[in-house]
Symmetry: C2
Subunit: 386 residues, 2 copies
């Protein structure tokens, strides 16, 4: 059985529906993947995710390596068992956090002793834990080894994620390092993966906002024996104009028969249309859950980029559900006034009910997209939304 | 139909089983009542409480008056509808919080302008909101009026809760005020209650740790037309030696055919035995939920007062559930190691799973007590536990 089975190719765009097969079950694509950074999607437990019909969730290798550690997770039979979630999981390689959290820390400490907190060599990256300052060293091999121990269904190659404002020369250097690391990841994975379940390895296309680099990277990553192709980089998801360009540039060079994954995408509901239209099958983002915890909730109504801020006093007496069309358990059971009250009184329950709503919203939106693609009316659906 | 139907009187103690009938359903006694201060039991929503088979929950009039306000709750058809909980609710009168939060605030501001934050007169109590410092005035009539608007099944008379270290002369004064207020509460409730559901009004016995005052108070409160009798006071629940004395003193004077309610009781699982043995039918306490949020979890094992602190590193690799005998959803689905990890990483999910466990534990314990009383083996059960 092929890893990805394409079900339908939209007649009017690159959008497509498919099914990804894993040993923990099938994933219908395009799909949104909720982020469970530290072995939990914040505020939820695994039965909540089951009730939400989440098909796949993410774990963050960087965070799981620091706490509770991959060796402990392995002792428990892998992340699925540790967190009691038996559907598919994807882990990132830790690359993104190594750089983003390392640089944040650098700023915070104002780097007094002139010691760089993230040291990059061709061999790998030395970084300090954002929790206790302890030193860690990730090589491509180490990142894969950790992910073997965590035991997700889909794992990612270790890459260097360059800031958008880095000079082109540096971006090229980093990209070439990412390519060399990609080869080492594939090699290590083939040689040492010994889990009873099949782990699929994805490569990551880098190159920041440079067309030639992005295309070179897409060609190179696609030439390796990866099971899927991810598009990474600081701007992906956070700068949608740039994201659209990048996806257009790389599309001709990434194989049709492998899953396409846009990393860290979903700041706004409408962003999903722009990437699905460009042939993306999978995406994840902390925004829906993080925004939920701050009271920013998604609605089908077009106003304000499909968002409402439930902390505003206009909702104090509002007897409506968060969204009238929504069928999540929060909308079926509670009013805007009640959720407003929970946020107003800093009750944790509010954050959880909001998280359930936002995740449901994204999962439902991708389900609607799959149905639209199936009937070749994806662009019509997009038009209605944007 | 009588409000309370006694099912069985234990042959060897004052313990008894019964059923309390309300328009929102029956309550089997003795029963623990989880505290839902601000229209939510912290970290849980109403479906969690349904899954836990909670039979009755508490709301705090003081907090609900400040936020979202009783008028808003009334507009939504009462607290049941506002929070989507259709089983019985009890509200306290606000008395305890007016004094305890008022005095806390007094200490914090070190009372520079020499202005008392809680002003008590025979008419009522003026206090300042702990949130914004705004002035409020509760009379007995006002406290009942607010509770009418909130619409709980059981409501409480407004009382003055005196500190344990107050001089006897003051305790007597305060008790006499509480008695005068009790009469006013009964009168106002009879005259102005116009809800479609029947609201039952309980009186509160005060008198601190003075035997004669407690007995005088028990006699007086029992002589009024209350539906149930509560035992209040600073020491009840927090000083179990004193609590036992107080309950023994008042027992002969409170009517058998009305529910007996020990307010704010349940700091330790074993405390429940001491009060049930003394004929108490209902109790509530924030401790099980508050302790849960700090990782203090109840276990059937006798060690450490039936508690374990899941934040301790000895649980890091523990594959057992929180308690092997427990059938709550947390214990059926997660290990100690996982809950430890959630607390260690400050994940909100941990607080919720812990809260579910502690509430289940108390509800299950009272269920076991009811079964033991039914079979006249309550004291044997107590012996096993203590």
């Amino acid at each position: 059985m092929a890893f990805l089975k394409i079900i339908h190719q939209d007649k009017n765009s690159h959008a497509r529906t498919g099914v990804i097969h894993t040993d923990h079950g099938d994933i219908e694509t395009p799909i949104f993947m909720p982020v469970g950074t530290q072995a939990t999607v914040k505020t939820l437990d695994s039965s909540d995710l089951q009730n939400l019909n989440a098909q796949i969730i993410l774990g963050n290798t960087y965070h799981l390596h620091l706490r509770p550690g991959e060796n402990l997770i392995a002792k428990f039979g892998g992340l699925h068992k540790f967190m009691n979630w038996d559907k598919p999981i994807l882990t990132d390689s830790g690359g993104f956090q190594v750089f983003s959290l390392g640089l944040q820390k650098d700023k915070k400490t104002s780097n007094k002793n002139n010691e760089k907190l993230v040291k990059i060599t061709d061999d790998g990256v030395e970084f300090r834990s954002y929790i206790d300052g302890s030193k860690h060293f990730f090589t491509p091999e180490e990142a894969i080894k950790i992910q073997h121990k965590i035991g997700a269904d889909i794992i990612m190659a270790f890459d260097e994620c360059t800031p958008d404002n880095a000079p082109e020369k540096y971006v090229r250097e980093a990209m070439e390092r990412t390519h060399a690391w990609a080869k080492r990841c594939v090699k290590y994975h083939k040689q040492f993966n010994s889990l009873t379940i099949k782990q699929f390895l994805f490569g990551i296309v880098q190159g920041a906002q440079h067309k030639t680099l992005r295309q070179e990277s897409a060609k190179f990553i696609s030439s390796l024996d990866f099971d899927g192709i991810a598009i990474g980089g600081e701007s992906v998801g956070y700068n949608m104009q740039a994201t659209k360009h990048i996806l257009d540039w790389v599309y001709p060079y990434i194989p049709e028969d492998k899953p396409h994954y846009a990393m860290g995408l979903g700041l706004n509901p409408t962003d999903l249309f722009d990437v699905v239209e460009r042939g993306i099958d999978m995406f994840d983002c902390v925004a829906p859950t993080r925004q939920a915890r701050h009271g920013l909730l998604y609605v089908y109504d077009k106003k304000n980029k499909h968002k409402l801020n439930i902390t505003k006093s206009i909702y104090k007496q509002d007897k409506n559900p968060l969204d009238k069309k929504c069928t999540c358990s929060t909308c079926l059971n509670y009013t805007r006034a009640y959720i407003h009250h929970l946020f107003n009184t800093q009750e944790i329950t509010g954050m959880r009910l909001a998280t359930i709503h936002n995740i449901h919203f994204f999962l439902d939106l991708t389900k609607q997209m799959r149905e639209a693609i199936q009937e070749d009316r994806f662009l019509q659906m997009k038009k209605k939304w944007i």
